[in-house]
C-alpha cells in the first residue's frame, strides 16, 4: 500500500554564501539521511529539482538554471518543500578515499562529517570556488586541487590521485562533473579496482521515486533516483556514463 509522501514544507533558517555561485540553505527540519542521499527540492511556483543533502537539515546549491536561480532569491524565513531522502547513498567499507569536484563535494561532505573518510581530494576551478575545505581539513587528510593553481595542487583531482596508491583504499567515493568522474573511473579500471569506486551520478529527474523513468541510464535501464544515485564503477563502466545523458523530454544530449 503506497504511503503518502507529500513534500515536507520547511522554513529556511540560514543562507550561507559558500562561493559566488554556491549557497547553503539550512532549514528547520532534520531528515534522517545516509550520506549520498538526495532530496527533491520544491521551489514553489518554479520547479522541483534533485539536490544532495549537505547536512541532515541543509542543502548546498550551485546556481545553474532557473530553479536554482529562484532558490538563490530565497531568504531566511522563506519556505521550500523537501521530498526525501531518496536513493541509496554511499556504502563504504574499510579505508575510504573521497574525491569531490565543484558542487559534487556536497554528498561526500556528509560522509566525511560522519568520520567515514580517510583521505579527501577536493577539486575546484579556482580557490574561491572551493567548498567545505576548512571543515574537511578538520576531519580528513585533505588534498586540494585547483585548475588554475590558486590553491593546492595545480591541476585536476586526477593529478593528485595519480600521486597516491589508489589500491590502498577499499572504497573510493566520487562525485563531481562527469568528465572528472570518468578520469577517475579510467584510473580505477586500469588498476582493476573499479568495483571499489562508488560514483554518485547526476541525471535529469522528474519523480525522484523510480516511477517516471526520466533518469534511467543506458544500457541496463537502472534508475539513478532509486537504484542509485551511487553506482559502483563496474556497473557504470559499460553504461552511458561519460557518453550521453537525456534532457527533460527524454532526448539524448
Amino acid at each position: 500500500m503506497t504511503e503518502e509522501h507529500m513534500p515536507a514544507v520547511v522554513t529556511i533558517t540560514k543562507v550561507i554564501d559558500e562561493t559566488p555561485t554556491i549557497k547553503t540553505f539550512v532549514f528547520d527540519e532534520l531528515f534522517n539521511i545516509r550520506p549520498g542521499q538526495f532530496c527533491m527540492v520544491w521551489v514553489p511556483g518554479v520547479d522541483e529539482i534533485p539536490m544532495a543533502f549537505s547536512a541532515a537539515n541543509a542543502i548546498t546549491v550551485m546556481k545553474v538554471g532557473d530553479a536554482t536561480a529562484a532558490l538563490f532569491t530565497l531568504k531566511e524565513g522563506d519556505k521550500i518543500g523537501i521530498r526525501g531522502p531518496f536513493g541509496n547513498g554511499f556504502f563504504p567499507t574499510g579505508k575510504v578515499l573521497a574525491i569531490g569536484g565543484g558542487i559534487g563535494v556536497t554528498p561526500l561532505f556528509t560522509l566525511a562529517a560522519g568520520g567515514e573518510v580517510d583521505t579527501f581530494i577536493l577539486g575546484a576551478r579556482t580557490a574561491e570556488e572551493l567548498v567545505f575545505a576548512d571543515e574537511l581539513a578538520n576531519v580528513t587528510d585533505l588534498k586540494i586541487a585547483t585548475d588554475d593553481g590558486t590553491r593546492g595542487y595545480h591541476g585536476f583531482v586526477t593529478g593528485i590521485l595519480d600521486q597516491l596508491d589508489a589500491t590502498e583504499y577499499d572504497t573510493i567515493c566520487v562525485c563531481g562533473p562527469e568528465m572528472m568522474m570518468k578520469g577517475i573511473l579510467d584510473r580505477l579500471i586500469a588498476r582493476g579496482i573499479e568495483s571499489r569506486g562508488q560514483f554518485s551520478l547526476h541525471r535529469y529527474m522528474k519523480c525522484g521515486v523510480g516511477v517516471c523513468g526520466s533518469c534511467c541510464i543506458d544500457h541496463e535501464g537502472l534508475r539513478v533516483c532509486r537504484d542509485g544515485p551511487v553506482f559502483t564503477g563496474d556497473i557504470i563502466r559499460n553504461s552511458e556514463f561519460a557518453h550521453h545523458h537525456r534532457g527533460p523530454s527524454g532526448r539524448k544530449e
Partner: protein
C-alpha cells in the same frame, strides 16, 4: 487460488509472453528501461506517449505518492520523432512493445504513427487528464476518438485505445473506438485529481491538476472494464491499481483479456515477476475461461 496458463494467442493483435504489460508513462522513456522491465517479467511494455513535437513536460513537482496511490502531472514529456532511434533496437528484437502515441487531432496521431513502421502495435493516449488540447481533453468526445482511431488504424497495425474514466459513460467512448477500428480498449488512464500542500497553501503539482493512479483507483478501473466488456466486442485491457495476482484475476473476471501495471512498480520493481509466480502454473487454466465470467 486460480492458476493460469500464459497466453497462447495474440491479445489485441499483440503477442505477449504473459498477461501483464508495463503501463504507458512508467519507466517507458528509454529502450533500456523498457528492456529491463521485460527482463523483470513484464509480458509486454507500452512506451512513454510520443507526440508530434518534443515536450519537456510540466514543471515539478510532477509526481507525488499519496495515500494508496500516485498523483502525477508529467505533462507528456517526450522526444517526439527522435524516439524512433531510441526504440529501434528493441523493435529490432521483436520485443512485445506497444508504442503509445498522442496528438491533438487525427492528423497528428497519424503523423506520429507514421514514424514507427516497425511498431508491433499502437496505444492511443486519448486519456491523459492534465494536458491541454490532448488526452482526455479530446478523449471525452466520441467522434474525435473514432476519427483518431481510424487515422492510426490506416497503418494496418493493431491499435489499442486508452480511455479516460473522467466521463459520465465510458461505454460510449469505448464503442467509438471500436467503430474506428480499434483492436483493443485500454481502461483506465488516471482519474482527475489534485492535492494541496497545506504547508505551502498551493497545489502540490507544478501543473496544479493531475491524475490519480494506484490502489486507490482499482475499484474505479474494475467498474470501467466491466462496463466496457458489456459495451464492446473487442478485447479490453484492464489498467488501474493492479498490484497482486488476485487483482489480475479480478480484472479478468470483469472482462479484461490482459492487464497493464504501472504505479505498483513504485512499491515493488519486481511486481511483474512476483505476480507471475502467484498467477501461473504449468497446469493452469486458459485465461479465456475467466475473462468476463463475473458477467454470467
Amino acid at each position: 487460488m486460480i492458476k493460469l496458463q500464459t497466453p497462447t494467442e495474440k491479445i489485441g493483435g499483440v503477442p505477449l509472453t504473459n498477461h501483464m504489460l508495463l503501463a504507458a508513462g512508467v519507466l517507458g522513456t528509454t529502450a533500456a528501461s523498457l528492456s529491463r522491465m521485460l527482463r523483470l517479467g513484464a509480458g509486454g511494455v507500452i512506451t512513454k506517449s510520443i507526440g508530434p513535437e518534443p515536450k519537456d513536460g510540466h514543471h515539478g513537482p510532477s509526481l507525488i505518492p499519496v495515500s494508496g496511490g500516485i498523483l502525477n502531472a508529467m505533462g507528456l514529456p517526450n522526444p517526439s520523432q527522435e524516439f524512433t532511434g531510441e526504440i529501434a533496437p528493441l523493435l529490432a528484437e521483436n520485443a512485445p512493445v506497444v508504442i503509445s502515441i498522442f496528438g491533438g487531432t487525427p492528423a497528428e496521431f497519424a503523423k506520429v504513427a507514421g514514424w514507427f513502421p516497425d511498431a508491433p502495435a499502437f496505444e492511443l493516449n486519448l486519456s491523459c487528464p492534465h494536458a491541454e488540447g490532448y488526452g482526455a481533453a479530446i478523449g471525452a468526445n466520441p467522434r474525435v476518438v473514432r476519427e483518431c482511431t481510424e487515422a492510426v488504424k490506416a497503418f494496418g497495425k493493431p491499435v489499442w485505445v486508452k480511455l479516460t474514466p473522467n466521463v459520465a459513460d465510458i461505454g460510449v467512448i469505448g464503442r467509438a473506438a471500436e467503430e474506428g477500428g480499434a483492436d483493443a480498449i485500454v481502461a483506465i488512464n488516471t482519474v482527475k485529481a489534485m492535492r494541496i500542500s497545506t504547508g505551502m497553501r498551493r497545489p502540490v503539482l507544478g501543473n496544479k491538476f493531475g491524475g490519480l493512479s494506484g490502489t486507490a483507483v482499482f475499484p474505479i478501473a474494475v467498474r470501467a472494464v466491466y462496463d466496457l466488456y458489456e459495451a464492446c466486442t473487442i478485447p479490453v485491457i484492464g489498467c488501474g491499481g493492479i498490484s497482486t495476482a488476485d487483482n489480475v484475476l479480478e480484472m479478468m473476471m470483469a472482462g479484461a483479456a490482459a492487464v497493464e501495471i504501472g504505479s505498483a512498480v513504485y512499491d515493488n520493481i519486481n511486481v511483474f515477476a512476483d505476480i507471475a509466480e502467484d498467477l501461473y502454473a504449468p497446469n493452469g487454466i486458459p485465461a479465456g475461461e475467466l475473462v468476463g465470467c463475473a458477467h454470467d
